[in-house]
Symmetry: C2
Subunit: 272 residues, 2 copies
């Protein structure tokens, strides 16, 4: 197993893949960074100095010490189906998909010559694409890995991220609450306001704030829903229970305690 | 009835009251602006040039053409109980309270010499206090009035706000959805994350975004809940129903349509 990487391939050079390449470079990586993406994306990535070279997946896989899959989830699953025969033994393959169980299960079945570690940087922006990539995207954010790996952890820490080791199922259960539920809440709130004639005319800062996530295009959510349905349904059900409790608390002084608990929690998330 | 105001009193010179004073001045008001507030607030308001003079409520009321009540809701109700004997006939009294039914009902009972019009600027900031006041706070925001008034509407429009005429009950029903529900959702989400061991370690941008409102102190919400309980409960119940629908939609392709509807709505709220 290569302890010093000399070639890294980023497969899917969008916001996250491009940011990983830039962050790796800024963290001191001196080797070659290859990009595997569509012709237009590759062109933009080369123009922005995000990657050093571009080539097809098979050629890139055969010369890489690390292969970083930053595609949509379904594309990651496809890449896992075909990449293994092209890597040399011990090549580290990791990914940046938003759910982990389906990906880790597929890798367990398909990756034999290489070693796979699931990954998920808890970072993003409203805007997408390689032109938005930035070396500091992961800074101060959690970066989940499904298996410890000294080499990979060292680079991620150098990027300023906080490594968190979680197995795939636990990851999916927790992000259902912290990422997927917030998206669905924002979508439901925007739809509720749209369904109420007159509501748009009294919209203030609170509604603007809470409907921002609702702007996200469905295409990035399709795969998340299809690969994390059970945990998302459970998170929604638990949140509905909490809102039912809140209805009762509103009739009494208990609501004040709930506000205090929530404010303390919101504050501590910001100090993380 | 005075068609040209020469003296305006702002009662409660915090973020909203102070911003009203600054906005009125910038909109071209040449008369005197009196502040009625606690000694510390009055001192800060004078130091920041927000008001011209400070005096007790009774003295201010007796010489004002417009009295602007920007206190917490319970304090507005108390002011309405005592102010009327001190105003001259026809003095316009308006307020900036976040709920309108209780205030308009109290005014109907107590205001005889003056004329009362309920008001609610849909504007605010995370931070409070007169030091945060700004002339542009209402710009581009809805400003609800419970009764039309040519004079008042003209000044509000000059401040850059959009006047919306709504009766008090309709206002309270709509803001339960657009302001009070978002707050409760954010509070419930922060409490949910706090209750789940491990969740804090995977918090990303979505959860940070949706728990921002949860930082609001309960003290500004106490009066809102006590004066709009019915509409808030109905908004919560309807939102719970929508989340239940979402659970079903997640099992099918219907969720895509919901995302499209919500994204279109969220976009249009931003173009308002």
């Amino acid at each position: 197993m290569a302890k010093t990487w000399s070639v890294v391939s980023v497969v899917g050079v969008g916001l996250v893949g491009g940011s990983f390449a830039l962050a790796l470079r800024r963290a001191g990586f001196k080797g070659k960074i290859i990009g595997v993406s569509s012709p237009d994306t590759v062109k933009a990535a080369l123009a922005h100095g995000v990657i050093d070279e571009a080539m097809p997946l098979r050629d890139a896989a055969g010369q890489s010490d690390l292969i970083y899959l930053a595609q949509p989830i379904e594309r990651i699953l496809q890449t896992l189906d075909e990449i293994d025969p092209h890597v040399y033994p011990g090549t580290l393959i990791t990914d940046a998909g938003s759910t982990k169980s389906a990906i880790v299960a597929r890798a367990a079945k398909r990756i034999r010559r290489g070693r796979f570690i699931g990954g998920h940087p808890m970072a993003g922006k409203q805007t997408r694409g390689v032109a938005e990539a930035e070396a500091g995207l992961f800074k101060g954010r959690p970066y989940i890995l499904t298996t410890p790996d000294a080499d990979l952890e060292r680079w991620i820490k150098r990027m300023g991220a906080r490594v968190v080791i979680l197995d795939a199922e636990e990851h999916d259960r927790l992000v259902a609450l912290t990422s997927h539920l917030p998206q669905l809440i924002s979508t439901a709130l925007a739809a509720s306001i749209a369904a109420e004639p007159g509501a748009a005319q009294v919209v203030g800062p609170a509604a603007i704030d809470l409907t921002r996530l609702a702007l996200s295009p469905y295409e990035i959510w399709r795969d998340i829903f299809s690969t994390n349905r059970g945990s998302i349904d459970a998170a929604l059900a638990a949140f509905i229970d909490r809102l039912q409790d809140l209805r009762k608390q509103l009739q009494s002084k208990a609501i004040e305690k709930e506000f205090e608990r929530a404010a303390a929690a919101a504050k501590s998330l910001r100090q993380g």
